[in-house]
């Protein structure tokens, strides 16, 4: 590993100032690297760090963010919301469901447009989604420029992993129209991972990370192999019908029924009442993530009747049990897709607004072994705010690359560079006088080549044989009568209706104990050290090249001389270059 400067350059060249932008369907956020080299999420003029991706027009005046979102009640026809996923798509392939309560997307000359009154005149204008995006980005850019005190000219934008090239091109074009250069697009899970990795100085540890992004209207999860600070996405899964809005809907239904019981009218039948319900439900949901009970109150909800009620967290969790289960299932699905086991996941990062919900984090924690860290506010007190992760990661990346030319960046991100062979099996070692099936991992599977790892083995004595071999992971399942503490996997199906506080699971069936076991498979090489003194240390270093040739070095720490060896590249046909 090279000593690549880990310190983040505090300020870029004056003519080029780059920020990170997380552009979501529901909320956007912007971040930059402050003078002290720390990531700072920028608050807009209204003091919001989560800026609703909403634009509203009243008599030619443009409102943005929270102010615009409030207009969903009174001025929904001239309010544009949830448009991010429409960019760069054709009308046939979009799902306009989230826009029911705001301006509806229409098709004009094959382009997606919104018909809104965005000028003083009474007539409606057809504004393309591209133009709306440009206006939204301009507001974000201006907020950032005001905050930073110098013009922002470039940005790294975090986007979902399934964003197509057309969508990226459309975004680039929209940004270019407001003189904002998009240096790079960054997948949201990578941004979240980078945001966490940048907190620890030595983030080069090998680990499998699952990033779950539970957003407002969609959820995306990804399994990432993080090897020495380099990231490869192993699998992704998406659910376009799952997100915070579904949780809001549960609260809307709950309170609407309560109102109907008292007042004999269904507030969901009236568009304006529904909009009020929706705004308040979102606020209540957020409050329930922080405290154990919250008040739901809407003035003049329907027929001029005020409504006020309270809900506590456990009631909410019972109501939303099924929906919470869908989040957990999505996580399980992606692990299966990546051909892994829950035991293989070392870290889980919960990102997106819905990840504030404590129950979701707890549910996910329950299906993983104790050794897996779940990074969410409900499980780890030092966790970063899930809503800010994408913007933070994008800002970090922006500060890393802002001094490079665009051409340089494009060359470095070219497939010639990014597509590389990855190890299929883990490489590890065995030492004599240890059990024959013992195996210690040196380089885990899915590590990008070339790779280099070293390890010091201590406690050696006399004549020692060190064998380097490939290994494979097996999941060993044993049935046990006694109850294990927590690291049993709960059966994945969420049929158990009564699971509210998850105190005790009175399961009759014996609990399974699942363990991860490494088995040596193919031996690669052997070293011999003769006559080592007591408590000797041997350092071994394995260097796997891109062409699958392996070189080994082993040296007795404190002793003289060492052993070198090499395995030439395998002549396997599919081992050709990219």
């Amino acid at each position: 590993m090279s000593d690549e400067s880990n310190e983040v350059p505090a300020t870029g060249s004056p003519e080029h100032y780059a920020i990170g932008i997380a552009f979501g369907n529901s909320y956007s956020s912007i971040a930059h690297i402050s003078g002290e080299g720390k990531v700072e999420v920028i608050a807009n003029e209204e003091g919001d760090r989560q800026i609703p991706s909403v634009l509203s027009y009243i008599e030619g005046e443009e409102y943005h963010g929270t102010q615009a979102k409030a207009q969903l009640v009174r001025n929904s026809k001239n309010t544009v919301a949830y448009f991010r996923d429409f960019i760069g798509k054709d009308y046939k392939s979009i799902d306009p469901t989230p826009c029911h309560a705001s301006a509806h997307p229409i098709e004009v000359d094959g382009q997606i447009c919104f018909s809104i009154r965005d000028t003083d005149s009474e007539t409606e204008n057809k504004v393309s989604v591209q133009e709306i995006t440009a206006r939204h980005l301009r507001r974000l850019k201006n907020s950032a420029s005001d905050f930073v005190g110098k013009p922002v000219t470039a940005a790294v934008v975090a986007i979902p992993t399934d964003t197509s090239d057309e969508q990226k091109a459309a975004l680039t074009k929209a940004a270019a129209s407001i003189e904002l250069e998009i240096l790079q697009f960054m997948p949201e899970p990578i941004a979240a991972l980078l945001a966490y990795d940048s907190r620890v100085p030595d983030s080069g540890a090998d680990k499998n990370v699952l990033v779950a992004d539970f957003g407002g209207h969609r959820s995306d999860v990804a399994v990432i192999a993080s090897r020495g600070g380099m990231y490869s996405i192993l699998a992704t899964a998406h659910d376009y019908e799952l997100g915070g809005a579904q949780l809001d809907q549960i609260l809307i239904d709950h309170f609407a029924k309560e109102f109907e019981k008292k007042n004999k009218t269904d507030p969901r039948k009236n568009e304006r009442s529904l909009a009020k319900l929706r705004l308040e439900a979102e606020a209540v949901k957020k409050a329930l993530s922080q405290s154990t009970s919250a008040t739901f109150s809407v003035e003049s909800l329907a027929d001029g009747v005020d409504f006020r009620s309270t809900i506590n967290r456990s009631r909410y969790e019972i109501l939303a049990l099924k929906t919470f289960g869908r989040f957990t299932r999505l996580v399980e699905e992606v692990i299966k897709k990546a051909d892994l086991d829950v035991l293989d996941i070392d870290e889980i990062i919960l990102s997106g607004g819905a990840s504030h919900t404590p129950k979701i984090a707890k549910n996910i924690e329950a299906i993983f072994p104790e050794s897996t860290r779940v990074l969410a506010p409900a499980t780890v007190t030092t966790a970063l705010s899930p809503s800010e992760l994408s913007a933070r990661g994008a800002a970090l990346q922006a500060s890393l690359i802002q001094e490079f030319d665009k051409e340089d960046i494009d060359q470095s991100t070219h497939e010639m560079v990014t597509v590389t062979p990855h190890l299929t099996a883990a490489v590890g070692y065995q030492v004599s006088d240890q059990p024959a099936d013992s195996f210690k991992v040196l380089i885990p599977a899915e590590t990008a080549l070339p790779a280099r790892r070293s390890k010091v083995i201590d406690g050696l004595e006399g004549d020692v044989l060190i064998r380097i071999c490939e290994g494979e992971r097996e999941i060993k399942v044993t049935q046990s009568e006694t109850m294990p503490k927590t690291n049993g996997t709960k059966d994945g199906d969420e049929d158990a209706e009564d699971d509210d506080d998850s105190d005790v699971d009175e399961d009759d069936e014996p609990e399974e104990i699942r363990e991860k076991i490494w088995k040596p498979k193919q031996a690669l090489a052997e070293f011999v050290f003769k006559g080592l003194p007591k408590k000797s240390k041997v350092e071994i270093m394995v260097n796997v090249d891109a062409d699958s040739s392996v070189s080994f070095t082993a040296r007795h720490v404190g002793g003289k001389g060492g052993v070198r060896g090499e395995i030439k590249a395998a002549e396997v046909a599919q081992n050709g270059s990219a």
């Binding site: 000593d3 990008a448 090489a525 080994f552």
Partner: protein, 448 residues
């Protein structure tokens, strides 16, 4: 599962692959890798991309990165101060410190007032290392002459004290740049170059910063005006304490001391006003040679002239247009008159022609009755017959108009000298006229 089977230690006959590697044995190959895309983000990826694009291995890249870092720290030590030392300077007497060039002593004569404190510190350190009396003793130069070392100390003392340094800088003539002579300014580019150097050196006395630059021939009027404004209102910190005569101690007499102090104060004041006058003259000189001032004046004049000329031209044009319009009107009037006259003449002529034609026709009519012998049958007509016929003809002609007359004449011409036909024509004509009520049948006698 709990087999106690362990990996045996190397057996006695364990042998390496070859003699070169007696302790190593290759056993197998790596499983074929799978191609995946790594995500181009994070610091480690940058390092990876650098290695891949330059085709470096881990250790090569480590070495190159390390090298590039080492070089950086070395660069900072650069910028040494080394100037040849003048043997005359080395032999200076330390007591005459007022006369010495402190910058030259420290080897900073090319920096002078621009030298930073850091530079002075380092230069002093270097000089001390070289000229310390102990060093000389060690080198065998045992002349116990440490006067230059004292010069160095004095120079450092003055230059490291901001107040004293200013006093010295005030009288540091070596930093002055003399104004260029006329000859030197012959080329226009030389003017800016030479005077810029002069003002740059003068600018060191300015209390106000930044000092405006002289600029070049492309400077705008505002810039040039600002420049001269600044220099005519120059606020200088230059003082002349450094040139003071030494004030004697009290014991030589208070009066004498006061006298010297007064003298010093006067001398300072005098020098200061001289300096102000000198600078004023300098700026005057520069202004007088400045081509740009002339250019701006010419431009202003040209502008004024241009405006005046434009005005005059406009007035002239207007007058011309007026005259032209008048002329046109006159010409038109004249034409109209001529036309009217011509038309009048034309109509007069036509009338006369018509009159002549009528006369001629009348003659023809009269002649026609004469030709047919006044309708007399055989022999000469009786006078009475002639008289009656002529009377009738006269009456006919008196009541007939020009067209009818022409018609009559043409018919008579056809009739020729046949009396019957002529009579018929006449009676036809008279009949027409009687029918129209212009002639009474009773008036006619023969031509009925």
């Amino acid at each position: 599962m709990a087999q106690v089977e362990t990996i045996p230690p190397p057996s006695a006959d364990w042998k390496g692959d070859s003699d070169a590697t007696p302790n190593f044995r290759a056993l197998g190959k790596l499983s074929p890798p799978v191609m995946r895309k790594i995500e181009p983000f994070g610091a480690q990826f940058l390092a990876y991309a650098r290695r891949k694009r330059h085709g470096r291995t881990f250790s090569e890249d480590d070495r190159i990165q390390a090298l590039s870092k080492v070089k950086k720290s070395e660069d900072e030590d650069d910028g040494e101060i080394s100037e040849p030392e003048d043997p005359m300077m080395l032999a200076r007497d330390a007591k005459d410190w007022k006369g010495q060039d402190h910058y030259a002593v420290l080897g900073l004569s090319k920096y002078r007032y621009k030298a930073t404190e850091e530079q002075i510190k380092r230069a002093y350190r270097k000089k001390v290392l070289k000229h310390h009396p102990d060093k000389k003793a060690a080198a065998g130069q045992d002349d116990e002459n440490d006067s230059f070392f004292k010069c160095i100390q004095r120079a450092n003392e003055i230059l490291m004290d901001p107040v004293k340094r200013r006093q010295f800088d005030s009288v540091d003539e070596a930093a002055d740049v003399p104004p260029p002579s006329k000859k030197e300014m012959q080329k226009p580019s030389a003017f800016y170059k030479k005077w810029n150097a002069v003002f740059e050196s003068e600018a060191r006395f300015s209390k106000r910063t930044p000092v405006p630059k002289l600029g070049d021939e492309n400077s705008t009027k505002e810039e040039v005006e600002q420049f001269y404004d600044f220099w005519y209102n120059f606020d200088s910190w230059r003082t002349f304490e450094y040139l003071d005569e030494d004030v004697p101690d009290d014991n030589e007499g208070r009066d004498h001391k006061r006298h010297i102090e007064k003298k010093n104060a006067n001398a300072r004041r005098k020098r200061k006003s001289e300096d102000i006058a000198r600078l004023r003259k300098l700026v005057d000189d520069c202004l007088s040679y400045d081509e740009r001032i002339k250019k701006f004046r010419q431009q202003a004049n040209a502008d004024k002239n241009k405006r005046r000329l434009e005005k005059e031209a406009a007035a002239k044009r207007e007058a011309e247009e007026k005259a032209k319009a008048q002329e046109e009107a006159e010409r038109k009037k004249k034409e109209d008159e001529e036309k009217a006259k011509a038309e009048k003449e034309q109509s007069k002529k036509a009338k006369e022609a018509a009159k002549n034609a009528v006369k001629k026709n009348k003659r023809v009519v009269k002649g026609s009755v004469k030709d047919v012998n006044y309708f007399a049958e055989g022999g000469d007509a009786s006078p009475r017959q002639i008289d009656d016929v002529l009377n009738d003809v006269d009456k006919l002609l008196g009541s007939v108009d020009a067209d009818q007359l022409a018609d009559l004449v043409s018919k008579l011409n056809v009739a020729g000298k046949d009396a019957g036909k002529v009579k018929e024509v006449f009676s036809e004509a008279t009949g027409g006229l009687v029918g129209a009520g212009k002639l009474k049948e009773s008036d006619l006698k023969i031509l009925k």
